[in-house]
């Protein structure tokens, strides 16, 4: 009984229930929404947000933030788009690898500033966000790369169906699986939590906090690069304002998903559900006739509610100095500790 309550109290479970309720309500108003094909399509539309949110999650876990993801995505998208237009024969697989590498490099620039120069991440990425965005204009001269300039293979990959599901959706599923693996089973994955949860303790433990932050930025950048290709291919166009402001949706997905802005707390499931939640709002409310402005208001309200839910009770108990208090506390705690249900791993 107790453990069921504990389970229901968990952020991810709660969010999962909210998402299911939303689907049920939208489905009851417009049953077409519940068709498998439509659900797959909604998921497919959310895939890029999911991938970016998972990268952002690692960065936020280390007490940083990456505001340059959308600009990174747009810049790599433009570069692969231009390359494809100029060299239609170059294999698309090569372009995808290139996009990932380029995104990783752009992320490494952010990470290096944070790690080696100790510049606050919000400042660094606010700067690189503008620089990356500006570079797109310099590269393209303000021109668009349109569908007719892209090779058929370039456009086909994300749309190909595998077991009835588009490759774009499969990519997000693979990234989810990778992230679960990294955060649960790789020592370096746990370092993101350690570095953000208690940097001093991490340092005492022998973890180089700055380097961990650097790696988070590189991974976030690499995923943004991958999304650069996916976005340009899916929407069949590359231009300077691609995904303008999308970084805010990405950060919002993490916040809704319970990734603590204070670092150290968060799960892959949380970031995934947070992104899914936003995806459903932006892709589905219109089919039941809710205006776009209501959608924005709903997203905003949910973000604030999520942050309030996140902030732990501020009231700190005093230090324990008195002898009686120390003894009472020990008895109290050990009594509580013994009945505490096992949680965590």
């Amino acid at each position: 009984m107790n453990s069921i309550v504990e389970f229901l109290k968990r952020r991810e479970v709660l969010l999962g229930i909210v998402v299911l309720c939303m689907i049920a309500i939208i489905g009851s108003i417009n049953p077409n929404f519940l068709q498998i094909r439509n659900l797959i399509s909604v998921y497919n539309d959310t895939s890029i947000l999911i991938i970016l949110a998972l990268g952002q999650m690692l960065v936020i876990l280390t007490r940083c933030i990456d505001l340059s993801v959308a600009a990174n995505l747009a810049l790599t998208g433009m570069v692969v788009g231009l390359l494809n237009a100029a060299f239609p024969g170059f294999p698309v697989e090569g372009l995808i690898v290139l996009a990932v590498l380029m995104g990783a490099c752009l992320g490494a620039i952010n990470g290096a500033f944070v790690w080696l120069l100790g510049v606050p991440a919000i400042v660094v990425t606010l700067g690189t966000m503008s620089i990356y965005r500006g570079s797109i204009f310099l590269l393209s001269g303000g021109d668009w790369v349109n569908a007719h300039q892209m090779s058929p293979a370039f456009l086909a990959i994300p749309r190909q169906l595998f077991l009835g599901v588009p490759v774009l959706s499969w990519m997000s599923l693979i990234v989810i699986a990778l992230m679960v693996y990294i955060t649960r089973f790789r020592p370096f994955g746990r370092q993101f939590f350690a570095a953000g949860g208690n940097p001093r303790a991490a340092f005492y433990t022998g973890i180089n906090v700055g380097f961990v932050q650097f790696r988070a930025f590189v991974i976030s950048g690499a995923l943004a690069g991958l999304c650069g290709y996916l976005w340009v291919s899916r929407y069949a166009v590359a231009y300077t304002e691609v995904a303008n402001g999308f970084e805010l949706q990405v950060v919002a997905a993490c916040v809704i998903g319970g990734i603590s802005i204070m670092g150290g707390v968060g799960t892959v499931a949380g970031a995934f559900l947070g992104a899914l939640f936003l995806g459903i709002i932006s892709n589905s409310l219109s089919i039941i006739g809710v205006s776009q402005f209501w959608q924005m208001a709903i997203s905003g309200a949910v973000i604030i509610i999520a942050v309030i839910a996140n902030s732990r009770s501020e009231k700190k108990p005093g230090r324990i100095i008195l002898r009686e208090a120390v003894a009472a506390d020990a008895i109290d705690e050990s009594a509580r500790g013994d009945t505490r249900p096992a949680t965590g791993q």
């Binding site: 089973f185 350690a194 949860g197 022998g206 506390d329 500790g337 505490r340």
Partner: protein, 500 residues
């Protein structure tokens, strides 16, 4: 006499921070299978020593010997791999991780060709270690749900998870219950039996004689003496700790004592302090002495209305006043110069004059508009009175020395015309010149009829400046001395809980 040679030794180690020689040419020897108690007052250099031994600080000069070889400990990871582990005063653990992950963080157990984390093995091994030290904790419990004592157990389990040959316990019993302390002793005995060299830092004399084989005394960052515990008595240890050249002179001026201006009655807090009652008269400096963590700052915070759980009554000039916030306290003429100067005392990125005028902008502004001219006038008046050294009152406080920053804090409060001024560690971390200036100013204040409550961990300061002193131990006022009665030995004995 010694049967073995030391496993770990420091020779002529010096560590300098700007303005302070935290460790001055010290030596230390730790023997396998023996507990060495490191004894010293606050500021004797014990924490710096621990950080030097665990690779957090690098010494400027001197040698570190380990297992018969001279070594360099570059970082905490180095120390850990060498088998030197410390359980720090404040537990440095991860609140949002499980007990098992806290034990293995940094050196996770893995399995298979790919080195994947092996949670099962970690939980199992953690369970074994916890069982070994008889800590009734579940490896999968989240750390945030544990008490301080239980967190200490986790920290100890963590130290034991690697093959530790040198274990440093930095005031490990400060937050433990009697029962937990006995468990800890048992644990220390088991470590000794394994041949581990243990350094035990404590302020409590009963502990030293209960558990230690050897002692080493530090004072003001310097080595004073060491030896076998059988060859020393409590009074001798106290004397080694505090004996100092009392040639430091304090600008103490006897001020005529007036009537009672402030009285605190029956101040208690559920966990921090109990039964605190005292009064101060005009022209009096009342000192609060105690070890770090004795509850002095907590009491001062409660007096100015910063503690929600504290209960007690305050009388100003015999009138009961209700102080629920610092604003109430300032209104009643009670101001607080905090210990954490840079966090709680000044706005570093604001100019001096704005810092000083801050508490009374309503008085310096005209018709609701800020008046820089009035603010500057106030700043000049009080800044000059305190002799703040600066080229301009518009200088940022950040650009001042620690001593001058402290003068700005005092000037700020003085401008509000207080009756009682509480100074919490008023000369902590400031240079000698400024120290003398702050002390001289304290004398001047009481001569003008103010009352000063001074919290200090520096014995000479308390003895040099206070007319009367209250000694705190574990949240209670244990002794009170007048200036004439006080001796260094008696004060330290009371503060450390030595039986008279």
């Amino acid at each position: 006499m010694e049967s073995t040679s030391p496993l770990f030794a420091l020779r002529n180690v010096t560590k300098v921070f700007p303005g302070v020689r935290a460790l001055d040419d010290v030596r230390l020897e730790l023997y396998p299978g023996q507990v060495t108690a490191l004894v010293g007052e606050n500021g004797a250099g014990k924490s710096t020593l621990v950080k030097t031994m665990t690779g957090i600080y690098q010494p400027e000069s001197g040698e570190i010997w380990y297992d018969g070889q001279q070594v360099t400990i570059r970082n905490p990871e180095d120390a850990r791999q060498m088998g030197i582990t410390a359980i720090h005063q404040e537990t440095v653990l991860f609140d949002d991780m499980t007990v098992a992950e806290n034990i293995f963080a940094g050196s996770y157990l893995t399995r298979g060709r790919f080195g994947n984390l092996d949670w099962k093995a970690m939980n199992r091994r953690a369970q074994e270690i916890l069982h070994d030290i008889e800590a009734p904790l579940s490896p999968t419990a989240m750390l945030s749900g544990l008490s301080i004592g239980q967190k200490h157990m986790v920290a100890i389990a963590r130290a034991l998870s690697v093959d530790a040959r040198v274990v440093i316990l930095d005031e490990p019993t400060a937050a433990l219950s009697h029962h937990e302390i006995h468990e800890l002793y048992e644990l220390v005995r088991r470590l000794k039996a394994r041949g581990t060299a243990i350094m035990f830092i404590t302020h409590k004399f009963d502990e030293i004689f209960a558990i230690a084989d050897r002692y080493t005394v530090f004072r003001d960052g310097a080595f004073v003496g060491d030896g076998r515990i059988e060859d020393v008595t409590e009074p001798e240890l106290v004397e080694m700790m505090v004996a100092r050249s009392l040639n430091e002179t304090y600008p103490k001026v006897e001020a005529p004592l007036g009537e009672e201006v402030f009285r605190a009655e029956g101040f208690s807090h559920p966990t921090e302090f109990a039964d605190i009652s005292f009064a101060v008269r005009k022209g009096e400096i009342l000192g609060f002495y105690g070890l770090v963590g004795a509850g002095r700052t907590e009491i001062m915070r409660a007096l100015i209305g910063l503690s929600e759980q504290a209960r007690g009554e305050i009388y100003i000039e015999g009138q009961r006043v209700s102080v629920r916030s610092p604003a109430d306290a300032v209104q009643a003429g009670l101001v607080y110069v905090p210990e954490e100067r840079q966090q709680q005392g000044v706005m570093l990125d604001m100019p001096i004059y704005q810092n000083i005028s801050l508490p009374q902008l309503h008085r310096t502004s005209r018709a609701g508009f800020l008046s820089t001219r009035n603010e500057l006038a106030v700043a000049r008046q009080y800044g000059e009175r305190l002799n703040v050294k600066t080229s301009s009152w518009s200088e940022l406080v950040n650009n001042l020395s620690g001593g001058n920053q402290q003068k700005v804090v005092i000037a700020k409060w003085l401008a509000t015309h207080p009756r009682v001024i509480i100074m919490d560690e008023p000369t902590k971390g400031i240079d000698i010149g400024s120290k003398a200036a702050v002390h001289a100013f304290m004398s001047e204040l009481v001569q003008q009829g103010l009352a000063v409550i001074m919290v200090s961990s520096e014995l000479p300061e308390i003895m040099g400046m206070a007319d009367r002193m209250i000694v705190m131990n574990e949240g209670r006022q244990v002794r009170e001395f007048t200036r004439d009665e006080a001796t260094a030995e008696a004060i330290v004995s009371a503060a450390t809980g030595v039986r008279a």
